[in-house]
């Protein structure tokens, strides 16, 4: 995720990354990471092991995905990102619940 400021709202940021803020902390699937009572975005990225990379010439930061657990996935529950088709129409994988899904990543290169 690209940010132009690092003091963005941590709860909105967490939810955009699939982490729900509960009394136990930041939770995704069956995994919960404890958080202090009040926390800033940088507390969250630190606790979740998210890399923070900056491009100072543009006042831009990019936050990488979490590394808690050391694997690409924290849970087997499939993420549900906002997707678009060729015409720009929105699509969500969760609209396919009830059927098996084979997701194929391809590219013109």
């Amino acid at each position: 995720m690209l940010l132009d400021r690092l003091d963005a709202d941590p709860i909105a940021f967490a939810e955009a990354h699939g982490w729900e803020i509960k009394p136990e902390g930041a939770c995704k699937g069956e995994v919960c990471v404890p958080l202090p009572d009040t926390f800033a975005l940088t507390d969250l990225t630190s606790r979740l092991g998210m890399a923070v990379v900056d491009e100072p010439t543009r006042d831009l930061w990019a936050i990488g995905p979490e590394t808690v657990g050391g694997r690409a996935l924290v849970t087997a529950s499939a993420p549900d990102p906002d997707l678009v088709d060729l015409e720009g129409n929105p699509f969500r994988l969760s609209s396919l619940r009830g059927t098996k899904v084979v997701l194929v990543a391809w590219a013109p290169y």
């Binding site: 990488g64 995905p65 087997a76 499939a78 084979v102 590219a107 290169y109």
Partner: protein, 241 residues
Amino acid sequence: MSLELDGVEASRPFIEAAQPNHPSLLDPTHQLDALFGVVNIPNVVWIDEDGMIVRPPEPGWPGPTEYPPSLAARLAERAQAAEAERQQALAEGRKPPVDLMAQLRSGQDREAYPDALRDWANRGADSPHAMSPDQVVAASGNRSLDVSAAAAHFELANHLWRAGDRDTAFAHFNACHRLQPDNWTYKRQAWSLVGNERVGGELGRLTQVPQPGEEADWPFESNFDADVAQLEPGSYYPRTM
């Protein structure tokens, strides 16, 4: 899902030629890498009726690979050139260069993959290919802080490229590739942008090396041929089933 950052029109001809009766979507920022652990194309993920992943990203194919005539012709030319180089090296008592096409064909069994898919389609959780949630997480690939940083650099590179800030984009692409050298979507995407500019045409995006004589002008620290040549056999499309 097409992992192409260079605009919708790059993907459109393929989608329209396929005339799919399934959703065909775009992932220009390579979200699938950060979200699922995709590291190459093609990579396939199986998700059951309840939205649970039962196989994390792995190389997968619908069947034997068929190439369009122009690409088949180019591959045949390369195979002939590679064989001639190999014969020359042997005749001169030198070690032959790495067979790149053999590297790409090794690893995952392309013919077995569709059978496994059909087995799961028919048998669901009873299929031996369907994993438990714990197995899925364990099999989803390493993610270190370096890998997280690679994704962040890629996101910046993408943004900067599209904003026309090429040199800064290249710096972030190079950092990205250094931090996660086994992520081939990040590499092939970046190389293809310049290859397509330099060569263009039907095979422009598949040109992922500097042209002869232009090596000094290649903005990346890596290229397809050099990187694949360094791989252990079977590691480009690792065998997972």
